[in-house]
């Protein structure tokens, strides 16, 4: 819009200068004619106009209020032919030189707003009417031309020159319009081709992202194979974009089932690439390297990530928050460790939040995690675990005044914990959607609920009894 305003201002400046040049040309012609015919005093009027116009244009160039100079110029451009007509001795004597007042009016309608043009039209009609009505009153004392044919010549000169000027202005207007139309069509063509290119690329990108989304979904753990550990479970992942940095990893080895909720920094494609790397490192650590215990696995992950992802600036910018839970089918134990992540444990006796360590920024910090494995106290009457990414608690409401927060999530889980897992998911999604409404999704969201099977819960009792 600023560019449009600037262009309009340039056009107005051009039109103003053009009108000044036309009028000064006409005034010069008249001054010369007067001098030739020997009317030195009337010749002062067009000469004074030329002098004033030059001065006004110079002032306008550095003026803070150029519209004032334009107004004054318009006034004198319309008044000058009339004053000149008076000086020449009236309409008949001067050959209706006040016709020249039409020139600024034609120009003004090209660059002023309609209301202003109407004002100047009204001014012109009033002034011309006054000139016609009062003409005999002041023409008596004026200079009278010597030769009768001179008046006819002057009238012809006036009509001819004014018609020529108006015709030139009209021609210029038509040419400008034509150029402007050409420019508009060229711009439209360019816009259409740019739009088509963007649409094509967008379509390609979207298809490619949809494919990536299918791949990322396929990388999520299968719902089978761990039925002896969980009797029911739900997994709700809502990435901010088609792919994202939130993911769940689940791998079995002998009697241990390890599960992790990973939230890689950022979202979209970069975060999804990072999540694939994290999965690969976790699998490698758990299955091949034989890392034991969630905290040790997290430590392994951070060491490898730092080694792989250190940038040329020496900084390790890419990161992941993670919660790892290991389920031991041998002794029925559940062990948790996390960085910047917590887990809710719900049982008939209540709900408890197990907090992980703080976020890890350096591999040195990750070393201190080794002793942070936390064994979860299970209730044989029924225990459910809930892991979530920070996108759930960081989600703002519609007014962007409040985050959902951990305590609200804890209350929500408490209120639905007695329901079947699929119903729990429905209630949680409904509540979250109601919270968010039309607000932008803050981050990737993941919430998973795991109800431990009675068989698994019975294991720990059997081990204790033995």
């Amino acid at each position: 819009m600023d560019k449009l305003k600037q262009e309009n201002a340039q056009i107005r400046d051009k039109m103003f200068l053009g009108h000044c040049q036309f009028l000064m040309g006409g005034a010069a012609m008249w001054a010369v004619l007067c001098v030739i015919l020997g009317y030195y005093i009337p010749a002062l009027v067009p000469l004074a106009y030329i002098g004033f116009t030059l001065l006004n244009c110079a002032v306008k160039r550095d003026s803070a209020k150029p519209h004032l100079q334009v107004f004054v110029q318009m006034f004198f451009s319309m008044a000058m032919p009339m004053i000149f007509q008076m000086a020449m001795g009236g309409r008949e004597e001067s050959g209706l030189v006040m016709f020249w007042s039409f020139v600024p009016l034609v120009v003004i309608s090209g660059y002023y707003r309609r209301q202003r043009s109407i004002f100047w039209l009204a001014f012109l009609i009033t002034a011309m009417t006054a000139m016609i009505v009062y003409d005999p009153a002041w023409s008596k004392g004026s200079i009278v031309l010597h030769h009768g044919s001179v008046q006819s010549t002057l009238l012809a000169v006036n009509i001819g020159s004014v018609a020529l000027v108006i015709f030139s202005a009209a021609l210029m207007f038509v040419r400008t319009q034509g150029r402007s139309r050409k420019k508009t069509y060229a711009l439209q063509d360019r816009l259409e081709s740019a739009h088509s290119l963007i649409a094509q690329r967008n379509d390609h990108l979207e298809k490619s992202m949809l494919y990536a989304q299918r791949i990322q979904r396929a990388l999520m753990p299968e719902q089978t194979g761990v039925d002896d550990v969980f009797s029911e479970r739900f997994l709700w992942i809502k990435q901010k974009e088609l792919v994202g940095g939130d993911s769940v990893w689940c791998v079995k080895k002998d009697d241990v089932v390890a599960m992790a909720l990973v939230d890689c920094t950022g979202h979209g494609v970069p975060a999804s690439l990072l999540s694939v790397t994290v999965h690969e490192i976790l699998t490698n650590g758990f299955k091949q390297a034989g890392v034991e215990g969630p905290a040790a696995l997290i430590n392994f992950l951070y060491q490898r990530m730092e080694a792989r992802l250190r940038n040329s600036d020496g900084l390790w910018n890419d990161n992941a928050e993670i919660a790892v839970v290991e389920f031991n089918r041998k002794d029925g134990s559940v062990c948790f460790a996390g960085t910047a992540m917590s887990m809710f444990v719900s049982s008939p006796s209540g709900i408890q939040r197990i907090k992980g360590a703080g976020p890890i920024f350096t591999s040195d910090q990750a070393h201190s995690l080794a002793s942070q494995d936390q064994y979860v106290k299970l209730d044989p009457a029924g225990t459910s675990l809930y892991l979530y990414s920070d996108g759930v608690v960081d989600q703002f409401n519609q007014d962007r005044t409040e985050r959902f927060g951990s305590s609200r999530l804890q209350d929500l889980i408490t209120s639905v914990a007695h329901l079947p897992m699929d119903r729990q998911q429905e209630c949680i999604v409904e509540t979250m959607e109601d919270w968010k409404r039309n607000a932008m999704q803050t981050d990737d969201l993941t919430l998973t609920g795991l109800r431990l099977s009675p068989a698994f819960l019975g294991l720990s009792t059997q081990v204790k009894a033995a």
């Binding site: 939230d263 920094t265 910018n317 703080g358 976020p359 920070d390 960081d394 985050r403 927060g405 981050d443």
Partner: protein
């Protein structure tokens, strides 16, 4: 650089205002940049330049309504950098302004304060 340097806020990044006359380095708003390193890199440079010109105690004020996890790492790196530049010799302090008394928001601040040697005051927004 004398006086104030300002990077205006955007919907994804906070306002950065460095006033070397008063010594206040302000980061205010939301901090969820798409490219975290791309945002924090120049901020780190501006803070370094500001610290170089500082003749009064430095106050590093973080008044963030919301920041994501990658920004937390950026803030950590920035604080570590300030810590290193101060080298325990300069009169620096960090002011961490909380929008409201919320454990989710207090925890990262406490964690950051444990990782740096500059004193950090955690305060509620007026």
């Amino acid at each position: 650089m004398t006086g104030a340097m300002e990077i205006p806020a955007t919907p994804q990044t906070p306002l950065i205002r460095i006033d070397t006359a008063t010594g206040v380095f302000l980061m205010q708003g939301v901090c969820i940049p798409e490219d975290g390193p791309g945002f924090f890199g120049p901020v780190l440079t501006h803070y370094s330049e500001g610290i170089d010109k500082l003749n009064v105690p430095g106050i590093f004020r973080f008044d963030l309504k919301y920041f994501n996890s990658s920004s937390l790492k950026g803030i950590y790196l920035l604080l570590k950098h300030i810590d290193d530049l101060g080298n325990g010799q300069k009169d620096f302090r960090v002011e961490w302004v909380l929008d409201k008394d919320d454990a989710d928001l207090t925890e990262p601040a406490v964690m950051l304060s444990n990782l740096i040697s500059i004193p950090m005051a955690i305060m509620l927004a007026a």
